[in-house]
């Protein structure tokens, strides 16, 4: 037997051929009924979309690329893509880019006008930058074009107003919100009930609650807020505090960040975290906070309502079933202000006309009520998406049913926040935001870690921002 020349052994070659044929047959046998079933199911799947009075197949054969972040709510969308391709004949390639890099990658693509991504999951704070550079198309012309949008079917006005406004500049929409979130109070209902505490209505009550529960010796801290530096980290919490203290971002046309209210808000942030939060909180982003809360070491936190998916996961959380939600506490000026975050889809202006149409069809499909439902309560898996974009869906019994495991007052707290506590100027919407957000985030962190006093940190940030904005 010659081991080194297996190819000359006729029996081995024949066996391999046989195996290959067998495998092919097996695969065909398995796939055929599945294919037929899929085709059959798809007809029914597509019916809700076909009721729209537009020609979904008008740019059949186009292909586009879409950049999103790796998140379950975009994964759900990815699994539905075969339906979109069957509906329109448009090929969509989804590219996942980590949240820390997606802004840079999109900016690079847009500024070099390479047209790589037809659309991408966009940060609402970047629209002023995009629009100033004319990198994205105004979407009113797509919304108003009867051949591209059936208004009665798409119902743009049903999308939450706060998020529509956040994705519009000068009254014109530049992005269509796909998924979003609001910051709310999340608290340990069991601990609050045991001590007779109520969810805080004011920032003072929030501190009092934290004080009542704070017991570091037994690994229980009063509260936590994001402390890590970054335009989407500490600058995700601080703007709500600033607005709660009655501050604003502008004096005339200038961005001013060191007003007396701003200093008060930052002092509150620094003092509260240093007194009642775990020491490492200054390096924490929301996943760290949600983890600590899941481990039962936090009495309360304020962050995105969608973090409920982490803390109610019975496999990882020790506190599932013991959680309650409430709106932001009011600041001294009697104002609650929540975040207006959403991932929206703009249209890249560097695309050829046909690709733009294909991109628009993708956007309307992804943000339509039907797809929103299919990526939430109609999706497979235990955790249902909670960031759906439409008021009618938020108020639907199906959504209430899907969210009943989240805890006490979940939908009501989030919905009240969305309808009453939003402010489109939550953060300064100017093209220079990337630089301003970064500068402020760095300054705030310097104050949080005790490197600088709040006033000094904001004065320094102001000096730099004035320099940045100088014409």
């Amino acid at each position: 037997m010659n081991d080194r020349l297996p190819s000359t052994d006729p029996s081995s070659a024949a066996r391999r051929r046989l195996l290959r044929q067998g495998a092919a047959l097996g695969a065909a046998g398995l796939a055929a009924p599945w294919l037929a079933g899929a085709a059959h199911a798809q007809e029914a799947d597509l019916a809700p979309y076909r009721s729209a009075k537009i020609n979904w197949r008008q740019v059949e054969g186009e292909s586009i690329a879409v950049a999103v972040i790796p998140a379950s709510y975009f994964d759900h969308l990815g699994t539905l893509l075969p339906q979109f391709e069957a509906l329109t004949g448009i090929k969509v390639r989804i590219e996942k880019v980590p949240p820390g890099q997606i802004r840079q990658k999109a900016t690079l693509d847009l500024s070099s006008r390479t047209g790589t991504y037809g659309t991408h999951a966009a940060d609402p704070m970047y629209y002023p930058l995009y629009v100033a550079n004319k990198w994205v198309d105004p979407l009113d012309r797509y919304l108003d074009d009867a051949s591209l949008t059936d208004p009665a079917w798409f119902r743009y006005d049903d999308i939450l107003k706060a998020w529509r406004d956040a994705d519009s500049i000068g009254g014109k929409p530049y992005g269509i919100p796909y998924d979003g979130e609001v910051t709310v109070q999340v608290y340990r209902k069991d601990l609050y009930d045991a001590k007779g505490l109520k969810p805080a209505a004011t920032l003072d009550e929030l501190v009092a609650n934290a004080k009542a529960l704070h017991d570091p010796a037994n690994r229980l801290y009063g509260l936590a807020l994001r402390g890590f530096a970054g335009a989407g980290q500490n600058m995700y919490i601080y703007p709500s505090l600033l607005k709660g203290f009655g501050g604003g971002w502008f004096r005339g046309k200038d961005v001013v960040v060191n007003s007396p209210e701003a200093v008060q808000a930052l002092e509150w942030y620094v003092n509260t975290l240093s007194q009642y939060a775990p020491p490492a909180v200054r390096n924490w982003n929301w996943p760290d906070i949600a983890d600590a809360f899941s481990q039962g070491t936090l009495g309360c936190y304020i962050d995105a309502h969608s973090s409920a998916a982490v803390i109610t996961n019975p496999e990882k959380s020790k506190v599932a079933g013991k959680i309650g939600y409430a709106r932001w506490p009011k600041g001294p000026r009697d104002k609650c202000v929540t975040s207006i975050w959403n991932w929206g889809f703009p249209i890249n202006a560097a695309l050829p006309e046909k690709a733009k149409k294909a991109t628009w069809l993708f956007i309307t499909w992804a943000t339509s009520a039907e797809t929103q439902a299919r990526t939430s309560w109609k999706s497979a898996g235990a955790a249902k998406r909670s960031g759906i974009n439409r008021l009618s869906l938020w108020k639907s019994p199906e959504f209430a049913d899907a969210m009943k495991g989240a805890g006490d007052n979940f939908i009501q707290a989030a919905l009240d926040s969305l309808e009453q506590d939003t402010d489109v100027e939550w953060r300064p919407r100017v093209p220079q935001w990337p630089a301003i957000g970064e500068t402020l985030a760095t300054g705030i962190q310097a104050a949080l870690v005790g490197q600088k006093k709040p006033k000094a940190a904001l004065d320094e940030a102001q000096a730099r921002i004035a320099q940045l904005m100088k014409g």
């Binding site: 100033a132 100017v430 990337p434 300054g443 940045l468 014409g471």
Partner: protein, 295 residues
């Protein structure tokens, strides 16, 4: 009639032709981007304010004078470079002298010493951030708590963060100094030491007057190479602290990166990068001159 000359010229031309593709590639991937960077540094390119774009002369450089973050980053670059290089040479030399005394098993140590060097700096940064310096669960924190020194926020406290990133860099690159110095030390002739011992020179005297002068070329070489790496360090700090907290570990390289790609002020970021390039070139030129003068 110049047949010989033509032949030499022909040969030279042929050699040039053979080199041309390589030179061209080198020109395209190194010189052209560098020139482009220099050109960008003379322009105002701020994506946040596209309406302001245009040629700006030396404005970007003038702006640095009144930019406290620039001076802070320059100071940090100096501290970071000087301390990491000194530590690497001291620890590397100490280790090499120790290991030289070990009769057996030096080979294993040498292989072990290479490991940190072959790791990508990003991996090193993340590794230290998540496994070594994380509060509560990190190795260092476990050790300090066991010793009764308490838990510290190693990367979250401004001073500790700077010390931490210096420690990370030193940990990764000391083995390089160690290996080079060990190799040099093991080539030193034994008879000189024997003669010194006959003259009753003590251990310190032998080290000070024989070992050090003999290994000086190697030490200088290590210092030059390590200085250039330290000046252009980026990935490990980026992964471990991102330049924070605040701007406590923001060396010039990171500041240029943040300015260009987070704040989208490409023009000013380019000029910062040009300054770093200038400093690196000046320092290495100085050191090479020093080396020539002494030897």
């Amino acid at each position: 009639m110049r047949p010989a000359l033509t032949l030499a010229a022909q040969e030279r031309r042929f050699a040039l032709a053979l080199l041309a593709p390589a030179l061209l590639a080198l020109l395209l991937v190194t010189t052209v981007p560098l020139v482009y960077l220099a050109w960008n540094s003379l322009n105002r390119i701020d994506l946040g304010m596209p309406w302001m774009s245009g040629f700006a002369g030396l404005d970007n450089y003038a702006q640095m004078g009144s930019d406290p973050r620039f001076w802070n980053s320059l100071w940090l670059t100096l501290v970071y470079t000087a301390s990491t290089v000194v530590l690497q040479v001291l620890i590397g030399l100490g280790l090499a002298l120790l290991v030289l005394q070990i009769p057996k098993g030096q080979g294993v140590l040498r292989v072990g010493a290479i490991l940190p060097i072959v790791l990508a700096p990003v991996v090193v940064g993340l590794f230290w951030r998540t496994l070594v310096l994380a509060p509560d669960v990190g190795l260092v924190d476990v050790a300090t708590r066991a010793l009764g020194l308490g838990s510290h926020n190693w990367l979250g406290d401004p001073q500790l963060a700077l010390i931490s990133v210096i420690a990370i860099h030193t940990w990764q690159w000391t083995p390089f100094a160690f290996l080079v110095l060990l190799a040099t030390l093991s080539t030193l002739p034994g008879d000189i030491y024997e003669a010194a011992r006959l003259d009753r020179a003590g251990a310190w005297q032998r080290f000070r007057h024989i070992t050090l002068p003999l290994i000086r070329p190697a030490v200088v070489m290590v210092v030059i190479l390590r200085t250039m790496t330290a000046l252009s360090a980026f990935a490990a700090i980026f992964a471990a602290t991102g330049g924070g907290p605040g701007s406590a570990t923001e060396i010039l390289n990171l500041y240029a990166y943040r300015t260009s790609f987070t704040e989208l002020n490409i023009g000013y970021g380019s000029s910062l990068a040009m300054v770093l390039l200038g400093i690196t070139m000046a320092v290495s030129w100085l050191m090479f001159r020093l080396r020539k003068a002494r030897s």
